[in-house]
Every structure is written in C-alpha cells, then in structure tokens.
Subunit: 410 residues, 2 copies
C-alpha cells in the first residue's frame, strides 16, 4: 500500500512512518519541520537527541534496505500539497501534520489564531486534494480524545444515539474541547464529516489519547532513529514530565487535585492502530471515528505509578500539588469507549509493563540533558497573553511572530 504520512518527522509520525515501512508499505513523509522550529521558539528541546530527517532516512535505508521518500513543505500550501499527492498517488494519507499542543495554542491570540488556521486550512486542503486527485484514497486523520471534554455521560466513539421527546437519531457526539488546539480538532472533525457526505470520501478520524513511550521496534534498531521525548510544560506530556522529574530528583508536579482522568496509550499501540486503520479502510462516504487509547488514568494515578517505579530503582520521589494553569475539572466522571480498534485486532501494551523500559530508563539515560527550568507551566488558560521563556528575548519573539504571520497565507 502507498501511504503518505503528513507530519512524519514528528513524534507519532516518525514512529508510524518507520513501522509502516517495516511492514512493507511504500511510505512517503511530508513535513515542513515546524515542530523543530517550535523548540527554538519556546526554548525547550526533546530529551532525546534526534537527528535531522535526512540522516534518519539514510540510516533507515542502510539498516533495512527500505526507502522512505520525503517531501519537504507545508500542507497549508495547496500547490505543494497537491503536487505531492499527484506525484506520490497514495492509497492512504495519514495526517499528523498539525500543531498539537494545547498550551502552545493558549499562549496568546497569535498562537490561537495560528493553531486554528494552520490545522483547519491544512485539513481542508487535504480534503480538496484527495477529492480532486485521488478520490478513492483513505484519509486517516489524527483527532484527539480531548475533543469530547469530560461529559457526565459515557463517551462513545464519535456518534451517539439520542432519544429525545419520543424520537431518536444517531448524531455526532457533542464536543466540549478544552483549548484552542482541541477546538481546532473539533473543527477538523466537522469538516471531514461534511466532505465524506458531499463527495463520498472515505475517512477514519482517530480520537487519540495521550501517547507515552519512546521505543518502538523500529526506533530501537539504531540510536540514529531515536524518537522525540518531550517533557517541557508546553509540548511535553504529563508522564514524560513525571519521569524526567523523578530522574532529576525534582518533585512530581501534579496540577490541582490530580483527578483529571484521560485515556492513554503506548506509542507501540499508536503505530499499530494506524496500521489497522490503513488495512481496514472506511467505505466510500463513511466518516468513521475510533477512540484510540487503551487505558484510563488520573494524573494522580500516574504520579503514584511513577513514584513507585522510581522507588524500585532507588530514586526517592515526592509528589507536589500546585494550582492547575488550565480551566478544567479536577474531579469528574470519565468513561470513554474504545472497542472498535480492539475489535479490529489491537493487542494493547499496558503502562505497568512499559513504564520502566520506555520511560524511566530513557529519562535516566539522558538525564544530563534534563532542563529543570522547563517543568513549570508558563501558560495560564485564564490569561489571554502569556509570556513564554523565549519571549523574554525580544529578538526571538519578533522572529517567531513573523514566522507565525507568514503561515496560513497560502
């Protein structure tokens, strides 16, 4: 199968591209390296020393004999995107090419507007490119469990049957996203559903939970293939932060009571879920939604698990509660369905088994690179203008603003 991975130089995208290539698919990566640029903007970097894409692909070819093509450009530039799709002619497009950090979208107006324009226009462009050039192509789009928010009822997979005043219908599950980023994914979902309806496109919208882990079978083949491990307060995820905090003797910083419950999955399951979605395409006209996670945890659950694991390794760890910078319920009902990928063959990896290997060991191995100053949150939801670390340098801020302004213009 010919598969385009948009955003294939990023965290999930890189692991996915390698996995699909290893399974014998013809893979192309499309990326503009914006994710690497954001590291410079916010003054943080991945704990793991990742290599430039060209190096990564060269090593992959040398190790496996498999070639992954790369197309360098921006999906909000329609001419670029259309020429890429026309040249590669994918059977499936896996779309990770979005700004994916809630705190980044909440920095200020420019970052909110950038996130929504970048994500919505990229996805609109992709829908038009598929319709005009490869209408039978299957779109596998990454959404997020965060689209649903935390309703007081069970969360279904995309659609819910509602009985009301003696009538019934199956309707899109109501969305209550919690950041301008999560909102952008809700906008995408509505746009994709509509394009499937009017043009008969086929799409799978994967509402993914929080992904953890660094090591997949392919990444483990060589140090040069190592994946990102983000632990800063803007792009990092909570588990990565806890593990680097434990590895550096810093207390684990839990926002509020820590009752915030979310769906999580191992990156080894991310790549497998994508493969399953590709192998089982949606029908023409179908916009299918899968909830892509394997386990639910509260933030306090995670802190306790990391504390125990670190203790077993001889690392004493404290848990420190601090006010949440977000506007979110600190305690709430949460029960999200996630049966469809299991039904299609997913065999989950569980956090209890991978916590040491893929998280604590990585954090310890690269502990010299830990920058403790990036642990503290810099972005508060209740403020419409936040100062990020890098913005303290006026020159850096002005560069990043100019970069933002030239985006989404295509």
């Amino acid at each position: 199968m010919r598969i385009c991975v948009l955003g294939g130089d990023g965290y999930c995208g890189w692991a996915t591209a390698l996995h699909l290539s290893n399974r014998g698919h013809q893979v192309a990566i499309v990326d503009n390296f914006l994710r690497r640029q954001w590291d410079h903007e916010i003054g943080a970097q991945t704990l793991t020393p990742i290599r430039p894409l060209a190096d990564r692909l060269r090593v992959w070819r040398e190790l496996t004999g498999r070639t992954i093509e790369s197309f360098v450009g921006d999906v909000t530039d329609y001419e670029f995107l259309a020429s890429t799709i026309e040249e590669f002619r994918p059977d499936t497009v896996v779309h990770f090419a979005e700004q994916r950090a809630a705190p980044y979208s909440m920095i200020d107006r420019k970052h909110a507007v950038f996130t929504q324009v970048n994500n919505v226009v990229g996805t609109l462009n992709l829908l038009f490119a598929i319709q005009e050039l490869v209408p039978d192509c299957h779109l596998v789009k990454l959404g997020t469990m965060g689209e649903y928010g935390t309703p007081n009822i069970d969360i279904e997979e995309g659609y819910i049957r509602i009985q009301h005043n003696g009538r019934a219908d199956v309707l899109p599950f109501p969305k209550q996203p919690g950041s301008f980023y999560h909102l952008s994914k809700v906008h995408d979902s509505h746009n994709i559903m509509f394009a499937c309806k009017i043009w008969g496109l086929r799409a799978t919208d994967l509402n993914q939970g929080v992904v953890y882990g660094t090591v997949t079978d392919e990444v483990a083949m060589d140090e040069a293939l190592i994946n990102r491990f983000d632990y800063d307060s803007i792009f990092g995820t909570v588990l990565n932060r806890f593990c680097t905090q434990a590895a550096s003797g810093h207390p684990l910083t839990v926002y509020g009571k820590g009752g915030q419950t979310r769906g999580f999955l191992d990156i080894r399951d991310t790549v497998r879920c994508i493969e399953i979605a590709c192998q089982n395409p949606a029908a023409r006209g179908e916009c299918r939604v899968f909830n892509q996670f394997t386990e639910q945890f509260s933030v306090l659950d995670l802190a306790n698990m990391v504390k125990t694991a670190a203790g077993d390794m001889g690392l004493p760890v404290m848990i420190q509660h601090q006010p949440t910078p977000r506007v979110e319920a600190e305690e709430h009902y949460y029960n999200a369905k996630h049966a469809k990928l299991i039904d299609l063959g997913l065999r989950p990896h569980y956090l209890s088994d991978s916590l040491l290997d893929s998280l604590m060991n990585i954090a310890i191995r690269y502990q010299d690179r830990i920058d403790m100053s990036v642990f503290q949150p810099q972005v508060e939801w209740r403020k419409s203008r936040n100062q990020t670390r890098a913005a303290s340098s006026a020159a850096a801020a002005s560069v990043s603003e100019d970069a933002l302004l030239t985006r989404g213009d295509h």
Copy 2:
C-alpha cells in the same frame, strides 16, 4: 447603551444599526465593504439600489438628528479591530461581519478556505479584543439555524439534556452543518463557548433562520436608506428568488421535491431580536443560545404562498422543480424550538402578512433591475470546483483570487 455593529453595511447589519440608533443607542458601524465587492466578483447585485454607507449615514443624521459612527476596516485585522474597540468602548458588540452565503463557500477550495479563515479569525480576534479591552462587554453573535442540520429529533436552543446508560448531562446540541459556510459558524460557536468558560465573557449566540423582507420602520423613512434585496443564486434567499421570479414572469424554481424545511423570520423581527438580546445581556461566563426564527416552512410551502400572492396581484405563476445543487434531504423531520426570544418579549411578524408589502411589492417596484440570468444555480455541492459567471472573465477571476489571497493574513 454603546453598541458596535460589525458588518453594519450588510443586509441584517444595516437594518439593525438603524433600529438601535432609532431607539436611542449610541451606534457604531464597523465594515470593510467586502459584501459589496462580492457582488462584483459574482456578477450580481441587489435588486434595490443601495447607497454608499457615507450617504446612508448622512441621510440618517439629517432625518433623525442621530449620528452613527463608522469605522472602516477588517475584523480579521486585529490592530484595526482592537483600536476600534478601544476607541468606541462598546457595552455590546453585535457581530454580523462574516461571509454568510453557503453557495459562495462551496464555489471551490479558495472560497471554502477563505470563508472559514475569515469567519473563524474574525470571531477569535473579537473574543480576544473583548477579553483584553472590554471584558464586561456583551457579545451578540449571529449564528445560523443551519448549524443544526436536519436531525430526526427536535432541535433545542443550543443545548440538549442527554440521558445515556443511566447517566445524564446537558451538552451542546450536536451539529450537522450543510456547507463550508455553515461549518464556519459551528466552529465559531465552539470557540465562543470556550472563551466564555475560560475568561468569563458574556455571549449570546443567535442561531438565526432565513431572513426575508426589506422594509423596517427606519429603512422606510427615505429611499436613500433602502436595504439590500439579494435574489441571485449565490447570496439570494429562496423567498427573494421566488418573488423576483414571479415579478418577471419566470417559473418559481424549486430544488428537488421542495420538502426542505427551515426556520424563517421577517427582518423586522431580526432587528427586534437583536435589541432584545442587547437589553437582556448574558451573565458573565454564560454562552447563551437563542434560536432566532418565528415560523417553519418548506420550500414548496413558500412557492405555493408566492404563487397565491402573485395570483392575487394578477401575475400568473408556474412552479418548476429542478435537481437540487446541494447535498440535502428533500424530505425530513423538522421541529426546532424557538421560545427564548418570545419569552423575552418578541412579538413576531408573520410571512402571510408581509409577503405582499415587503417582498412582492419591492420585486415589482424594481422589476426593471431584475437579471433573470442569476436565478439558475451556479454552484453544485458535489463538485469541488465550480465556475461562477464572473469567472468566465479570466481577468475578473484573477482579480478576485488575489483579493481572496490577501484576506485572513492579519
């Protein structure tokens, strides 16, 4: 009360600005005249000969002694919008300043992207401007009944109580919008709801039905104040098309079976609904949704009403069915609630009473200006590239594309 009317040179905006001014409010109009530019782009014009805004405002001042300020610029330009809000310091902002035609948004990729970027960025900018400059200001935002689509259950006003697996919650009503334009309004609604939650803004989202009529008390004062009457297939509404068709001896063109049922209201009720919303602001942190229409009709109902009214005036009329250019159900359940504005004091005008005065008589009075070539639909939902009339001139098309490309860049 100090009220900013964004989009105050457009159809609903103009009637609203005059009405609020007449009621003694301090009114400012903010507009960039894009609506007038689109007439040139698509090669159509309002049936009624509207005057430039400066003329309109001068006549209004001479007739009533009341001054409406005007600020000329684009709400997607944050510097302009913020300086306007800062200078005028509104108590209420009424936001009509969006691209509001479904067919326009469905012309091709550029028009879809433009519509969503223009509408979403304008509204995001406004939310940030209110939060940063006038956080107590009440946002009155025009949404559309088209956000809901045509579900097989009763449509509630913005939110619905859902019982599911033994639990219950009140959640945003699921949306199934039917064009890239309607989608943009759904995106706005989600963004507004979130801003109210995190910043404690106050907002009223008015999901308006199809507005008909030209004459309000204020517009009727002088020919120079006359409002738009759009009957072309892109910006025109179905009632206006039927009335101009009847006035020019053209058959009434009903798309498909004509069972498409929607909510409708007289423009005299639009201006009154806006006034009611302004006078009864939402609470801090509240995102209130009102369904703003007074009667439901199917397209075939409307055709028959126009046929009868025209017959009474001695105009014989035929009804002609033709394939719908949209992707929509031609027969469906439709029962939308609309109690909240009535509860706050709205006394509806009914179509049966205004059909002759405000629609047929206007169509006949300006029948020399009717261009029958704009009746036929030019935009098909199932095609991702449509040729509009004006695009047949390469030069005109290239100008309009350049104009589009420079939008949403601020």
